[in-house]
C-alpha cells in the first residue's frame, strides 16, 4: 500500500535494529545489557548513546553468559529489561534462559540471527527457529517467540514483547535476521498503548513491610518440581489459546498456500503477487507468533487449500510445526534456502509447479 500524504509526513526512514530500540524505549524499557555481535551491533550502539540521556542504564557485559544473568537480576527487580544478540551469543544464554523460564522472570531477548552452525557467517538465516521455538535450554520450557517481517513490526512487536513478557512472566524472543535488522525502510512511530499491568508484587525490592520473598527455579521437596512443571505447562496452554497471531495475505480462495515467517515472508509476498498476476490462486499465511504457533489458522489453510508450500531460510524447521498441526501431510511441500534470502523468482517457480503450471 502506497502511503497517504498525512502518514507520509510522519514516516521515518529507519534501520530495523534501530526500530527495536525505539520500540523498547517507547515501552518503558530503561535497562539494556548486551555483548557485541554482528549483525545486531546497531542496537547496543544506539542504546549506549540514548539510554543514559533518559535516565536509563546501558551496560556492556563481559559475555553473553553474564548478559543473560544481568537480565535475570534486573527482571527480578521488577524492571523491564532487554538484550540482543545473534547465533553463538544466544546459545550461550540458554542456561540463563532456562533459569528465567523456571523462575518466571519477564524479559525481552532479541535474536538478529545469522548463519550457523558454529561461527557460520553473518549472512541472514532462519536457522535458529528450533532453538527459539522448542527451547534451546534444558527442562522443556517454552518462550514466546515473535517474528517481525518489516521495520514497522520491529518496532511494534518489540512493544508487544514487553507486554507479553509481563503478562505471562516469561522471557520473550524477538526473532529477526540480518536482513530485517540491517535494512532501512519507512516506518511510523505509533504511540505505545498497553493494557498490561506493570504491577509486580513478586519483585524483589527488599522486604520492608512484608514477608521476605524469593525468586528461584529450584524445587526439591516431594513432587514440587512436577507440580511446577504442570503449572508452567498450563501457562503455555493459556498462551497458545490467547496469543497466537498471524497475517493472512491474499489467502481467500488460495489453492496454493505459502507459509513463511519474517524476511522469507516478504519475498513470498512479491512472488505471490506475481503468481496472482499470472492467474494462479496463491496466498500466504505468515505466522507472526512462532510460539504460540498459529495452529488453528494453519489447520484451516491446510484444509482449504490444495497445496502448501513452506518456505524457510533454513533446511526445514517450521515445516515440522506445520505437520504437527495438520494431518494433511501429503499436501505439504518445503522450499529451503539456508543462510541466504530466496528470490521471488525461485519461489514463483515452486508456486507454478504446485499449481500445475509448467515453469
Amino acid at each position: 500500500m502506497s502511503a497517504t500524504a498525512t502518514e507520509a509526513a510522519r514516516r521515518l526512514l529507519t534501520k530495523g535494529n534501530e526500530a527495536i530500540c525505539l520500540g523498547a524505549i517507547a515501552a518503558g524499557c530503561r535497562h539494556y545489557y548486551g555483548y557485541p555481535i554482528t549483525p545486531q551491533n546497531d542496537i547496543p550502539e544506539y542504546l549506549s548513546a540514548q539510554l543514559p540521556a533518559i535516565g536509563g542504564v546501558f551496560l556492556q557485559a563481559e559475555s553473553e553468559v553474564a548478559t543473560i544473568n544481568f537480565l535475570l537480576g534486573t527482571a527480578a527487580s521488577g524492571k523491564r529489561v532487554m538484550t540482543s544478540s545473534s547465533g553463538p551469543g544466544i546459545s550461550l544464554m540458554q542456561e540463563g534462559l532456562s533459569y528465567m523460564a523456571g523462575s518466571e522472570l519477564p524479559a525481552v531477548i532479541v535474536n538478529i540471527s545469522r548463519s550457523g552452525p558454529g561461527l557460520g557467517g553473518i549472512a541472514p538465516s532462519q536457522g535458529d527457529y528450533f532453538q527459539a521455538v522448542k527451547g534451546g535450554g534444558h527442562g522443556g520450557y517454552r518462550l514466546i517467540v515473535l517474528a517481525p517481517h518489516s521495520v514497522q513490526e520491529m518496532y511494534s512487536l518489540t512493544m508487544l514483547a514487553f507486554d507479553l513478557a509481563d503478562k505471562y512472566r516469561t522471557p520473550v524472543f524477538l526473532l529477526g535476521d540480518a536482513i530485517i535488522g540491517q535494512m532501512k525502510e519507512p516506518f511510523v512511530p505509533t504511540p505505545y498503548v498497553s493494557s498490561v499491568s506493570q504491577e509486580k508484587p513478586w519483585a524483589l525490592t527488599g522486604c520492608k513491610g512484608r514477608e521476605r520473598q524469593n525468586l528461584k527455579s529450584l524445587y526439591l521437596k516431594d513432587n514440587a518440581i512436577e507440580v511446577h512443571n504442570w503449572n508452567l505447562h498450563a501457562k503455555y496452554d493459556r498462551i497458545r489459546a490467547e496469543e497466537s497471531r498471524s497475517e493472512p495475505f491474499l489467502l481467500d480462495g488460495a489453492k496454493v498456500a505459502v507459509i513463511a515467517f519474517g524476511t522469507a515472508a516478504r519475498v513470498c509476498k512479491t512472488a505471490i503477487q506475481w503468481a496472482r498476476k499470472e492467474g494462479i490462486a496463491a496466498g500466504l499465511l505468515r505466522p507472526v507468533t512462532l510460539f504460540p504457533f498459529p495452529e488453528r489458522e494453519v489447520q484451516e489453510v491446510a484444509r482449504s487449500s490444495e497445496k502448501i508450500l513452506v518456505v524457510e531460510m533454513n533446511t526445514g524447521q517450521m515445516v515440522e510445526d506445520v505437520k504437527i498441526c495438520t494431518p494433511f501431510h501429503e499436501k505439504i511441500e518445503f522450499y529451503g534456502k539456508p543462510c541466504a534470502m530466496p528470490t521471488p523468482e525461485e519461489i514463483l517457480v515452486r508456486i507454478r509447479a504446485l499449481a500445475g503450471r509448467s515453469a
Binding site: M1, S2, A3, A5, A8, R11, L13, T38, P39, I122, A178, I179, Q182, M183, K184, E185, P186, R266, V267, C268, K269, T270, A271, Q273, M341, T343, P344, E345
Partner: protein, 183 residues
C-alpha cells in the same frame, strides 16, 4: 513501477551516504523504499555497497540478485557486480577510477562520469565524487526529482558539515548535467 540499484565503491567514497539520500528522497515523494547496506566484515578491506529499491507496491526483498541499475565508483566493484546486472539496465561508472573499456557488456546502458575529476576540478572537493554520480543516475532515470534530493541533504548531513550542503547541491547538479538533462 519498481526500480532498484546497487551502489558500490571504496569505503570513504560516501556510497552509503548517497544510498541513504536516494532512499530518503523516495520516501519524501511518498514511495515505498528499502535501503540495504553491506554490513559486518564485508566492510573490512575497504569496500562498501548498498542496495536501494523504490516502488509503488509493498516491497518484498530489499536485496536484489540482478539489479536494474548499477552505480560503480571503483574497479573491483565493477568486476563484482557487472556480471549480475539485468539486461537493459543503467550502468553509471566513475570513469576517473573505472576503465570504461572493462565494461564487457553491450546489453546495458552505460553512462561514464569522470566523477573524481569533476569533483576535484569543478566542485573543488574529491569527496563530492559520489554525489556527482548520484546526480547523473537520478537525472538519467528520473526515479526521484533532483529537487527532492536537494531538500533531503540536510537530513543526511550532520549540523557539523552543514556548510558543505551547497557543494553537494552543486555536485548533484553537475552530475545531472552530464546525464544530458538539466535540473
Amino acid at each position: 513501477m519498481t526500480s532498484d540499484i546497487i551502489m558500490a565503491g571504496f569505503g570513504g567514497q560516501g556510497i552509503l551516504m548517497i544510498g541513504n539520500l536516494l532512499a530518503l528522497a523516495a520516501m519524501e515523494e511518498g514511495k515505498n523504499v528499502t535501503y540495504f547496506p553491506a554490513y559486518g566484515v564485508e566492510m573490512r578491506g575497504g569496500t562498501a555497497n548498498c542496495t536501494v529499491v523504490i516502488s509503488d507496491e509493498e516491497i518484498g526483498s530489499p536485496v536484489v540478485g540482478h539489479p536494474k541499475s548499477l552505480l560503480i565508483m571503483n574497479g573491483p566493484s565493477l568486476e563484482r557486480f557487472l556480471p549480475l546486472m539485468a539486461p537493459g539496465g543503467d550502468l553509471i561508472i566513475n570513469s576517473s577510477l573505472v576503465d570504461a573499456a572493462q565494461v564487457n557488456r553491450t546489453d546495458v546502458r552505460l553512462l561514464s562520469v569522470p566523477a573524481d575529476e569533476i569533483a576535484r576540478n569543478v566542485i573543488g572537493s574529491r569527496q563530492m565524487a559520489s554525489m556527482v554520480a548520484l546526480g547523473a543516475y537520478v537525472a538519467r532515470t528520473a526515479v526521484v526529482r533532483l529537487s527532492t534530493l536537494n531538500d533531503c541533504l540536510p537530513k543526511v548531513i550532520s549540523k557539523k558539515y552543514e556548510k558543505f550542503i551547497p557543494l553537494n547541491v552543486n555536485a548533484l547538479k553537475e552530475g545531472a548535467a552530464l546525464a544530458g538533462i538539466h535540473a
